[in-house]
Symmetry: C2
Subunit: 476 residues, 2 copies
């Protein structure tokens, strides 16, 4: 097989090739932007879903499942929302040859599917908080160029929807959601910013929108998720009302939390290298591969030891493969490395006789350990690998983030720019023009922490006092 | 709350009420036939999916995920197939306000989405067998009255799709699929028939169709799944060709295997009773509930013992709840019974002092066991419960199945009729008229086994030699 394009030279060609070779998604389906998930990619995706589920269920979310189709009459109830989505939803107009009385759209997100039901479910203050989520496909009629995992027409989506007593309780939910994302990003070893999007860029219908932006190649950022505070903007038109303790009626305050398959795109884009995928243990379909080095002598003994070890690792709950193929060791190593396997256990005959094995991780760390200790070493080695992966990504992110004081500096593409911004729309649009992309908005949080210099300069456009650090980058 | 309708007197009212009260599905969504899955029902559904996944992965199926939308041009490639589906698919005609060049349908099943990709994936005999499955929503524009879990417009679906070297290899896959269903039905404690559908009733495009029919109230049967042999009926129009060992080109032979949310409907319909749900342990969202009987004395001690036991059970992997509410024991018992919890552990103060607890299962079996043995007894008690549930369902199924020798006997509604059938279409249609419903087709297998009398009578219509026992019932 030809070599991969170099990640540092041709990021998007590299990204596309890596997805194809590792069978993450297959873009050869007859409709552009609708992709197939082969076994390997789907497994990684499902493991990512599990990581998300585990994190959000700890803060009280319960999983539900709503219909894919939403009647036009429901979609239209919140005025801003329908304006934001009407040009990008798919419309079902016929059942068989019969025109439908009311058109149905494929959910672009599920506010308008869920909230009519919330209005039925929520009766009393005792029903609150209501915290639900679903993992599903959402659909957008994209007119821009599509790109696997990044901009597709059927999107694999996590969406959390909550209802609370009042604005403050909803704000506290927003904080909870950010904490769950911290946990998810830790498992995925991803750096990110929490950016409060400018008003003109917030979610249609939201009071405010916090975006979760990760780095994504050459100074670009990728919005992998959002947390929105809705106040009662949706509960009013949808009638989500409850009886308070004093017996009066009040509207609930709502939040939503969205994450998409882009999160997997970020993992691949941030961690991958010129050999292919590099996957954090939480979502690696294969976490450990045992590779016996099969020479002429002692072949059976080595193979048997590898199988025994594989069996032990599997029983301990690690996703393990044993590679007994006849290929030479270098070819085997490369094959598993290209699929991102975090940890390799090499078993050679001489080593085995000395009672040892070699642990090698996907970042190149290699050491000999007593065979009897491998089982106990694996969790430590995987966590050390995750931590090193995280450090490497943080280090690069730090290098990519640069304070700028003059608009001209924003022309420099390969950076995420930190600027002072006064908060005014006119200044914001000037920044957008200068950066040829997006004003990410005010930065509320960063991971790693401590990457924002303490002193905020004045607004990069008008020179007035800034609200705080804001980010500007070429978004995807 | 008002009492449930009696299952024996008003089956469908009972079924509908049970679903609503236990929050299995919620049918109050603004579009008929599109239902919401609340937390409890979705959990049971996900556990059912897990039961299916575990069974099929053992015979080599791998999970994949294909797009929801299928272009009209692909849907039309197999002539019988499109004829069978064109009147019942939902059509997407617009993206935003733009009419689409090629209409897209919401998959009614995924042959026509998957097979263009199979044509790319399958190159050589080494790529075969290809065994894939997905768990997804499929859509049918139902014009008949909808009914939760039984006839809906968005259907939760498992679909397996395979490609093999030749007809015989595909036939062997059909046998494997039936074996996996045996395992699934065992976990769900369900009786069923494997019926070879008459030719006029087979899947559009299939060589033959085997249906999995369970009992479903008052002598009706419910088709919960199907296994189809396609021969090369689809591989030819879709070009699924491979290079044989000798270097020539050949078309693959295919099978499919479908199961739907109806399977959950069958579980509820077959096992439920006048108190509500009765769930087999494999899919019960709560498998064990620990109910402390909180009297005036020793209240805290009993509550603590219940929590300790609950913790132990959870750690051992059982889905466990501890009910510390202040309701009286009878009310607690009823609440958990109505949600189908298989096993209850009662802890009273005097019992506790004697070092005992009471195990009660959802079928009423009750016994005292030493508290120290509860953890070890739970798996045994759950398996004994599953087995008793199965026996009860088998017993009822045996009583409901009746050999008939004259067409007039088929008028008797509350039975699944066993008849001789010569296989001719004209005779088949006469049977259909007489039974006011369906000729299930020739019975190839039954669970429990041994319910078919050994001597097959002649065709119930023409008196000629029969192919074997056939079933006739009011299907749903």
């Amino acid at each position: 097989m030809a070599e991969l394009p170099k990640k540092s030279e041709a990021f998007f060609e590299w990204f596309s090739e890596v997805l194809e070779r590792a069978q993450v998604t297959d873009k050869r389906y007859p409709v552009k932007g609708l992709n197939v998930w082969p076994f390997f990619g789907l497994k990684a995706r499902s493991l990512m879903d599990r990581t998300i589920r585990d994190a959000v269920e700890k803060v009280g979310y319960e999983e539900v499942s709503f219909p894919t189709l939403i009647p036009e009459t429901e979609l239209q109830k919140e005025a801003e929302h329908i304006k934001g989505f009407e040009s990008q939803v798919y419309w079902v107009t016929h059942g068989g040859t019969t025109p439908l009385d009311i058109r149905l759209c494929l959910r672009p997100t599920s506010e308008t599917a869920m909230y009519p039901m919330f209005a039925i479910w929520v009766r009393s203050h005792k029903d609150l908080p209501l915290r639900t989520y679903q993992v599903c496909s959402v659909f957008r009629y994209e007119t821009k160029t599509t790109r696997p995992l990044i901009r597709v027409r059927e999107i694999h989506f996590f969406e959390g929807h909550t209802v609370h007593l009042d604005e403050e309780a909803a704000t506290s939910q927003v904080r909870d959601d950010l904490r769950t994302f911290e946990e998810i990003a830790k498992a995925l070893a991803l750096p990110y910013l929490v950016d409060r999007r400018p008003d003109w860029d917030k979610f249609p219908g939201a009071h405010y929108s916090l975006a979760l932006d990760t780095p994504f190649g050459e100074g670009r950022t990728l919005q992998v998720g959002t947390v929105h505070h809705y106040r009662d903007n949706f509960s009013r038109p949808y009638g989500i009302q409850y009886e308070t303790q004093s017996g009066s009626q009040a509207y609930g305050h709502q939040t939503t939390y969205g994450l998409s398959e882009r999160l997997l795109g970020a993992v691949i884009g941030v961690h991958g290298d010129d050999k292919g995928l590099v996957l954090p243990p939480a979502i690696a379909p294969v976490q450990v591969v045992v590779v016996p080095v099969l020479g002429k002598e002692g072949k059976e003994e080595v193979a048997r030891a590898a199988q025994d070890l594989g069996e032990q690792l599997r029983k301990a709950g690690w996703r393990t493969r044993v590679d007994l193929s006849e290929d030479r060791p270098g070819a085997k190593y490369y094959a598993w490395e290209s699929r991102g396997v975090p940890l390799r256990v090499e078993l050679g005959q001489r080593e085995l006789q000395a009672g040892n094995a070699t642990l090698a991780d996907r970042l190149g760390t290699k050491r000999s350990v007593p065979l009897a200790d491998v089982l106990a070493e694996v969790p430590r080695a995987l966590e050390a690998f995750r931590s090193a992966l995280s450090e490497r990504a943080f280090e690069r992110f730090r290098a990519e983030i640069r304070p700028a004081k003059r608009l001209e500096e924003l022309k420099e593409g390969a950076a995420v720019h930190l600027i002072g911004w006064c908060g005014k729309e006119a200044c914001g649009h000037r920044v957008e023009e200068a950066v040829d992309g997006g004003l990410l908005g005010r930065i509320e949080q960063s991971s790693p922490p401590g990457i924002l210099p303490s002193e905020v300069p004045p607004c990069i456009v008008c020179g007035e006092k800034a609200l705080g650090w804001a980010g500007a980058a070429r978004p995807l």
